[in-house]
Every structure is written in structure tokens, then in C-alpha cells.
């Protein structure tokens, strides 16, 4: 089908965009890359009265090096993450994960801010930003706030974003040298949304692991028990593999039943740990 009609607004500055959102946020929608929103409009699953196109807000397209962190603007596209040498150096996890997002044509338009705001439970970038202990910057005409990834995701397609807020950036703390970052997922075909995925980030070998899972809950989650086990005893890998499947409670899905997804999580954990000991 075709999209329903709407009023199209194209702000040139963030201040202008925030003012528009303050007025029309309740019955309006932001469009960034449009790679999730346009299918929703075509299906008539969304029918905003106003479409606010933030695509021309140049400051949101930057990747900035800060003191101890890297800040990725909300409009940085998937293909730009993949092309960034800085990201490759600091967060190889993101380079690995982006390869699994959709197909080149979608990666050329989709943005990191759009992916996080969409909050698809199987999205790669949400789980990666959670594993990397990121914070998102949410701005409105009234002010701004930083929200940690664990507090940002609130359920399937649900986030902490208020109707008048724009997610403008995600800030990821730099990791120490000699750390580990590994991403793995299982999908039916290249580019499909994952049935399950796992992001491992750790400094000092396996000493302080953060394990984030995607596709197995209503939001990306940390495997806290496996993390605790491995930080006490980094050699307890078999025990961690055995335990991690029980940490997740996937939704009932006839195509991929919960038991199968729990099994996949164990498989992913085994693959990931195998990459550590070549």
C-alpha cells in the first residue's frame, strides 16, 4: 500500500526540530533513515499527522572523539559506522555487528539513532550499545538528559523517549587496550533479523565481561548470571555456556520456540568463547 497523507516538515536546525516536536510530538513522528518507519506507513500501521524529517541536521551526523568516550550522532548511518576507521579501532564490535544489519541498500539509509529509537528486540545496535555500556542523549525544547542503555529500552518497540524528545547521540566509553569485543548471531539468511545474537565486551581478558543478548527477550538484555560467573572465574566457560540459556525467557513463537532460542544462546556463547582460544 501507499503511505497515508501527512504534513511534511523539514527543520534545518535542531532548535527548529525541537520546537516542531514540542508542538506536534503527540500526533507527529520523526523520520531519520525511514527504513523502519516507511514500511510502517506503507502498512498503515502508523499514520502520523506530521512527519518531521530530521535528515538535514548536519551536527547529528558527526562521530566525535571525547575525553574517554566516543560520541556517535544519531544520524550516523549503518554504512558510515562500517566505514569509520575510528569506530573500527575503538569498537570493533560495531564493525562486526553492522555486517549483519539488513542489506547494503538499507544500511545506506538506516541510522543508529533510528535503530535505537525503534527498539526492535532483535536489532544489533541496541545490544551492542548495551554491551558497550553506552548512554543516549535525549533532547527536547525543555532541556536534555542522559539515559543509560539499560534504562532506555522499555519493551518491544518501547523506549524512554518522550513524545517531544529527539535522541541526538549515543556516547560510548572507550575501552582499555587488550580488551575483547566479539559479536555473533544466528539468522535464517544474510540480512534477516536475528533469531538470537550475542555481544561480548571485556577488558583485561575475560576479567570483566559484559554479555548482551538480542532477539531473546522483549528488549536487549545483559546475561548477568553468566557475567558474574565469568568475572569470578574466567575459566568457568563450560559452566557459563550451560547457564546462559536459562537466563533468557523468549516469547512464545511457533516458528522458533523458546527452547530453541535458549539453545541458540548456548551455541552463540560457545562460538564466542571459541574465538578467544584459537
Amino acid at each position: 500500500m501507499k503511505a497515508p497523507d501527512f504534513e511534511y516538515l523539514r527543520p534545518e536546525t535542531l532548535a527548529e526540530a525541537l520546537a516542531m516536536l514540542a508542538r506536534h510530538g503527540e500526533d507527529g513522528a520523526i523520520i531519520a533513515g525511514g527504513q523502519s518507519l516507511l514500511p510502517l506507513l506503507h502498512f498503515r500501521l502508523a499514520a502520523p499527522a506530521y512527519l518531521i524529517d530530521i535528515g538535514r541536521l548536519e551536527p547529528l551526523k558527526q562521530i566525535v572523539e571525547g575525553d574517554g568516550y566516543i560520541e556517535i550522532g544519531a544520524l550516523v548511518r549503518h554504512c558510515e559506522l562500517a566505514a569509520s576507521a575510528l569506530i573500527g579501532r575503538e569498537f570493533p564490535l560495531l564493525h562486526q555487528a553492522v555486517e549483519h544489519i539488513a542489506h547494503p541498500g538499507v544500511r545506506h539509509r538506516g541510522t543508529i539513532g533510528g535503530s535505537l529509537a525503534m527498539a526492535d528486540p532483535a536489532a544489533e545496535l541496541g545490544a551492542c550499545c548495551l554491551a558497550l555500556a553506552g548512554d543516549v542523549l535525549l533532547q527536547s525544547a525543555a532541556g536534555q538528559r542522559w539515559v543509560g542503555m539499560a534504562d532506555f529500552f522499555a519493551g518491544i518497540y518501547e523506549t524512554a523517549l518522550a513524545a517531544d524528545e529527539i535522541l541526538t547521540a549515543v556516547r560510548l566509553p572507550r575501552r582499555g587496550h587488550g580488551g575483547i569485543q566479539i559479536f555473533n548471531e544466528v539468522a535464517r539468511r544474510r540480512g534477516d533479523f536475528a533469531m538470537a545474537g550475542l555481544a561480548l565486551v571485556s577488558d583485561r581478558g575475560l576479567g570483566s565481561p559484559r554479555l548482551a543478548l538480542l532477539g531473546v527477550s522483549d528488549r536487549p538484555i545483559l546475561a548477568v548470571r553468566a557475567m558474574a560467573l565469568l568475572s569470578q572465574d574466567p575459566t568457568a566457560t563450560e559452566a557459563a555456556i550451560a547457564l546462559i540459556g536459562d537466563e533468557v525467557d523468549p516469547a512464545d513463537d511457533p516458528a522458533y520456540p523458546p527452547a530453541y532460542r535458549r539453545h541458540l544462546v548456548g551455541v552463540l556463547m560457545r562460538r564466542t568463547l571459541a574465538e578467544l582460544s584459537p
Binding site: K2, E7, Q35, P39, D53, H103, G105, V106, R190
Partner: protein, 153 residues
Amino acid sequence: MKTRRIALTVNGETVEREVPVRQNLVDFLRHDLGFTGSHVGCEQGACGACTVVLDDQTVRGCLVLAVQADGATVETIEGVQLDDLRAAFHRLNALQCGFCTPGMLLSARELLRDNPNPSRQQIRDYLSGNFCRCTGYQAIVDAVETVALERLP
């Protein structure tokens, strides 16, 4: 119906038009400009039949609004040179009905621009967003691989 005036370059020519704001780029190219080489399959980003080139990158023509392409440079299958790829698709039976072919050719062209010597797996990965209901893909991968090898110095 809300409309907006846009100006863009399509296949080398400057175009200015008043478009419905809800119209997607591939419908604009097909209905308003007559470039019917780009096809419309799913309108949800899955099939890749609508692939066009926007500012030097392939995109889903169904997942870009025409108003978003204001000021941009667009190329469709009608506007690009791909003689050897086209010939190889023909020679190696890489098409049957041809519905997917314009999208396949534009994606393959981009792959060979960015990676002149891809493996068969890399070809498959790159074309994973272009569905073909006829060929079973084998011949398409053959054609792209053949052109890559022919082009190597």
C-alpha cells in the same frame, strides 16, 4: 493531498516537480518521470526490485520519500553504463522474467566498484537484499563473478 516542490538531478538532467509529500521515490521516478526500469515489488524494503542509486549509493526506492531526495542526484537503470554486466547476465542466463534484474545490476555494479575481486560468498552477501523468484541465483553469481574476472587487469 499535501504537496511540496522538489528539485533534483535524475540520470544527468535537472528535474523540478511538485510532488505529493507521501509519494516514494520509485513511484516518482516511474509515474512522474517515466523511468519504469525500477520495479515495485513489496513496498516494505524486502525485495530490492526498486533499487536506485541516490548520491552514489544504492537505496530502496520504496523506502525513500521523493521529498527526501530534494537536492540529491539519482540514477536509475536507464541512466547507468553497465554494458559488460548486462551482456554477462544475458549470456549466462542470469535472468528469466527480468523483474529483479535492474536491481540486481545496480547492486552488482556497486559491489564491483567497491570490491573489484569479490569471492562468490561476498557476491551472495552483497546481493542478499535483491530477491529473484526465477533463477535460483546461481547464474546471477556466475555472471557477476565472470565480469569481475574479465575486468581484472
